[in-house]
């Protein structure tokens, strides 16, 4: 159903693998940012149009494969529970966003490659 974007697009993606498995990338970065905003995995997932399970799997991967947890979650309580991004998670997020911006500026300045098509 997703109406695929029209026209020519120069795109890029940057990510981190650990032992060949995805550890951090644009999806997890956006998820982390939204968890930080909303204080909830499920709300963040909904905001991204992603299933809770997929979001949880991503969070679980971050916490399991890194040396420090990026998200702390709580069951039960006043609002039924919640989640918060740790300082380590925020630091990784910000560094990733910085790198992404640098890459974006390069890509942007090379848009002319599309004219070769």
């Amino acid at each position: 159903m997703s109406a695929k974007s029209k026209g020519k697009q120069l795109r890029f993606r940057c990510w981190i693998d650990i032992d060949g498995e995805r550890f951090f990338g644009p999806g997890r970065a956006e998820l982390l940012a939204l968890i930080h905003e909303t204080g909830s995995i499920s709300k963040a997932a909904k905001a991204m149009g992603m299933s809770y399970k997929k979001a949880w799997t991503m969070v679980d991967g971050l916490n399991a494969n890194g040396s420090k947890p990026y998200v702390i979650s709580h069951k039960g309580g006043q609002q039924g529970g919640g989640a918060e991004v740790t300082p380590a998670g925020l630091k990784m997020l910000k560094s990733y966003q910085k790198l992404n911006k640098r890459l974006f500026s390069i890509v942007e300045s090379n848009i002319d490659i599309l004219k070769l098509i």
Copy 2:
């Protein structure tokens, strides 16, 4: 079977979409380069450990979705046939490789992000 690479890796990828469909990227770039070297789609595919069918599908996509063909192929003949990369294909390939190098240098200089893990 593929022994996934060990350790932390900072990776990136850059590609061109047309109407949301893959048009050009690292795989097609490598394929194009190998076709240019070997003069044959099947040899290039073999060199990449890729099936001929997949390689042909890529080449077909390049020729069908761009405004100019990137590969000209010949059936029959002395060696049974062959393929050559057009000047337009070579130009795109070189521009892509240039852009890729620029991006790589940025990524390389940001390797320290791996220490945050």
